[in-house]
């Protein structure tokens, strides 16, 4: 993508509170889209660039949410809670990675799913710590540099700043030698091994990057909602974020952002008008997989270039042969 286009896009986004018609409600939706987009961008490092589909990512996202909620509810300073949430989630990501990277492909998917379910089960059950089904509620957002984030617009800009930083970090990572090597492990794992790369370590580091993004997104999700509940840890949440990545376009930078906007648009906007929006979401998702297997962003770009063209050979990784 052209740097100019990116700059223009970000500028339009930054000016969003000025032109959105619906006032604070629309601004809040935009903040949520950015939070989920960061979560999806992180997962895309695994799904798109490493070819590893994780169905347990909500375990990391929700864990960050819970750590922050628990600490803030206990009266810890916001900045300590934030650092702890991200730090502990990175540790949990490392544990997830060590266990899940025992396999690739479907086996990786199954292990991550299982790990996610275990974290969910613990949150549901360990009531004294997590509040069980009721979760943990707080009523304070942080106030960095003395600026209160309680209203929609300041929160939007805080989220926007986080979003830009995370977008930059992910961009930097996928274009770094490590990111290139990660794609290598997706397409040619054996050859990468033969070339002397430590395939396991590269994937491990990719997992940590993904976990870091999930942690940051989870932290902001907590700031936004001011609560943590088992629902954020559920398989549904994990499936939703995978859906965002695949629907938008794996292994692209813009794809997960578009995917996040699509899914939240269905959940929060379309659901106000259409009773059976779940059915519609499922149908859209199935249609994307069938007719635009590379995802909306690359798919629409293809159509724009050559209308009526057949889908290009799908990108390896997300949809291609499972690396073995």
């Amino acid at each position: 993508m052209k740097p100019l286009a990116i700059a223009a896009g970000l500028a339009a986004l930054a000016a969003l509170p000025l032109w959105m018609p619906g006032g604070s409600y629309d601004v809040n939706i935009a903040s949520q889209v950015m939070i989920w987009a960061v979560f999806a961008l992180g997962l895309n490092v695994l799904v798109g660039y490493a070819g590893l589909v994780s169905l347990g990512q909500a375990g990391l996202f929700g864990f960050a949410c819970y750590v922050a909620a628990w600490l803030v509810a206990a009266g810890t300073a916001q900045w300590i809670a934030a650092i702890a949430a991200i730090g502990f989630t990175l540790v949990l990501s490392a544990v997830f990675a060590v266990l899940a990277l025992r396999g690739t492909g479907i086996s990786f998917l199954m292990i991550t799913l299982t790990l996610g379910e275990i974290v969910w089960g613990i949150a549901q059950r360990w009531v004294s710590l997590t509040g069980g089904d009721n979760g943990i509620s707080v009523s304070t957002r942080p106030a960095p540099f003395g600026i209160s984030l309680d209203t929609a617009t300041p929160f939007f800009y805080a989220t926007f700043a986080m979003f830009v930083v995370m977008l930059g970090l992910v961009w930097r990572f996928v274009h770094s030698p490590l990111g290139v090597a990660l794609r290598g492990t997706r397409d040619q794992p054996r050859r990468m091994g033969a070339l002397g790369y430590n395939v396991w370590l590269i994937r491990f580091l990719g997992f940590l990057v993904s976990g870091f993004a999930a942690a940051v997104a989870g932290l902001f999700f907590f700031y936004y909602n001011e609560f943590a509940s088992p629902y954020v840890l559920s398989l549904t949440t994990s499936a939703e974020v995978v859906l965002m990545v695949i629907a938008g376009g794996a292994a692209t930078l813009l794809g997960p952002i578009v995917g996040a906007a699509l899914v939240l648009g269905m959940q929060d906007v379309v659901s106000s008008y259409v009773a059976h929006w779940n059915l519609m979401l499922g149908a859209i998702f199935v249609a994307i997989i069938l007719f635009m297997p590379e995802g909306l962003v690359p798919g629409l770009a293809r159509l724009a270039r050559r209308p009526g063209a057949a889908p290009a050979a799908p990108r390896p990784g997300a949809f291609g042969r499972t690396p073995s």
Binding site: P21, S24, D26, N28, Q124, V127, N134, G135, N225, V232
Partner: protein, 422 residues
């Protein structure tokens, strides 16, 4: 597909808002602008059935009043939370910040209400909810909450009293969903049952999603009764499995407000006959208002109303009475909530009721027994406990100073005579 919002807007007669305008329609600033009620309910996912009943109860009330309360038109905006706390938050924001509703009906589940509770307080939003979390009208009260149904433990006090004093049940095992609603139901039962000389031998907690209750049923021992604190479709599954294990008739079955809801009767089989439950509403209550309500609801939906539908019909009644008191004004939110909490009914679909200073209902709790009637089942009322408060007969100060019921703890002694001892 149903287009809920559009349908809602179409129902506004002469309000000058065409359906085609959809969400862009902004409330007119004219003095006679309609009152906006936002309904937070669940229309998708496993909790949908209860949410659909909530919608039906609300719609029936407004239809009967021709969408006019205290001389003002009423617009109902229906939102589906998906049974997800984050969804509840987003939808609450939409109702408050975009639709500028005057009050919220709902949400359904306790975890949803807890997720938006501080937001609602912050926006001073009058909220008429069914969610039963005890603390929200006691230890950590929401000053804008009005609850016409009951707290989780409220109906369990009379149930325990009835079990111990009238059924002469001495020992029970309990089985309840392993979450806050279950803890509060069982805690409430234990509180009174212990005082009345009863003993809970074993508390069983089953996860919300339990396909097979046999491992729990097998642990039910030689006790007089079994207290069932299950919600949703779980009571149906539990009773079917309980009966199939040859247990039918071995214990008195005692249930909370969700375990034998009137709306569940069509799902139960004959094994449910004899099941005794306590509920703040009963379709078989023979007050005139209730007979009319049941007839109209059955005509509209083809089903018997249960607690979900009834509570939102009651919410409508409370709102109407409060609006008459404020002269139709809704701008002063604190005054509106005060008026709602000050309402008092000599009769209603659940008989007489009023609110305590926390906005929680004080009214009838019905003891019902499931009987066979023709081809189906009915809840026969066997005793009515009038004027039941969330504090039962306890010393309120002492109650507020005592922590909420927990999964494993034994409730602290609360009876009034004990209060004086300290």
């Amino acid at each position: 597909m149903r287009i809920t919002r559009r349908k809602a807007l179409q129902s506004v007669v002469g309000a000058g808002i065409g359906a085609s305008l959809g969400p862009l329609a902004r409330p007119a600033l004219a003095a006679n602008k309609p009152i906006r009620i936002g309904l937070l309910t669940v229309l998708t996912g496993p909790l949908a059935e209860g949410g659909i009943q909530i919608r039906a109860g609300t719609e029936l009330f407004l239809k009967q009043r021709n969408h006019t309360l205290a001389g003002r038109k009423v617009e109902l905006i229906i939102q589906d939370t998906g049974g997800n706390p984050a969804g509840a938050k987003t939808k609450a924001q939409e109702l408050v910040e975009r639709d500028h509703v005057d009050m919220i009906f709902g949400p359904y589940a306790a975890f949803e209400l807890l997720a938006i509770n501080s937001y609602l307080i912050q926006h001073k939003m009058p909220t008429l909810s069914l969610a039963a979390a005890d603390d929200l009208t006691s230890r950590t009260p929401n000053p804008y909450l009005v609850r016409a149904s009951a707290t989780s433990s409220q109906a369990m006090y009379p149930l325990a009293d009835y079990a111990a004093r009238e059924l002469k049940v001495k020992t029970v095992d309990t089985i309840a969903d392993d979450f806050a609603f279950g803890y509060e139901e069982v805690g409430g039962f234990q509180q009174v049952f212990d005082d009345d000389g009863g003993t809970i031998r074993k508390k069983l907690w089953s996860p919300l999603h339990t396909p097979d209750y046999t491992p729990y049923i097998a642990q039910i021992g030689a006790v007089d009764g079994v207290v069932i604190g299950l919600a949703g479709s779980n009571p149906v599954k539990f009773l079917q499995q309980y009966a199939s294990l040859g247990m039918a008739g071995k214990h008195k079955l005692l249930g909370g407000e969700t375990a034998a809801d009137d709306a569940l009767l069509k799902s139960f089989g004959d094994e449910a006959v004899g099941f005794i439950s306590a509920c703040p509403y009963s379709a078989s209550y023979d007050g005139t208002q209730n007979k009319d309500f049941v007839a109209a609801y059955t005509k509209q939906t083809g089903a018997v109303p249960g607690l979900n539908a009834a509570t939102f019909y009651l919410n409508g009644m409370v709102t109407e009475a409060a609006l008459h008191a404020t002269g139709g004004k809704t701008d002063d939110r604190a005054a509106l909530v005060k008026a709602m909490r000050a309402t008092s009914f000599k009769d209603s679909i659940r008989g007489p009721f009023h609110f305590d200073r926390f906005g929680n209902v004080v009214g009838n709790v019905f003891m019902r027994r499931i009987d066979k009637s023709g081809s189906g089942l009915v809840n026969t009322i066997i005793k009515v406990y009038p004027n039941v408060s969330q504090f039962w007969t306890f010393d309120v100060k002492k109650y507020l100073a005592t922590p909420n019921y927990t999964r494993n703890g034994t409730p602290a002694k609360l009876a009034q005579n004990a209060a004086g001892a300290e």
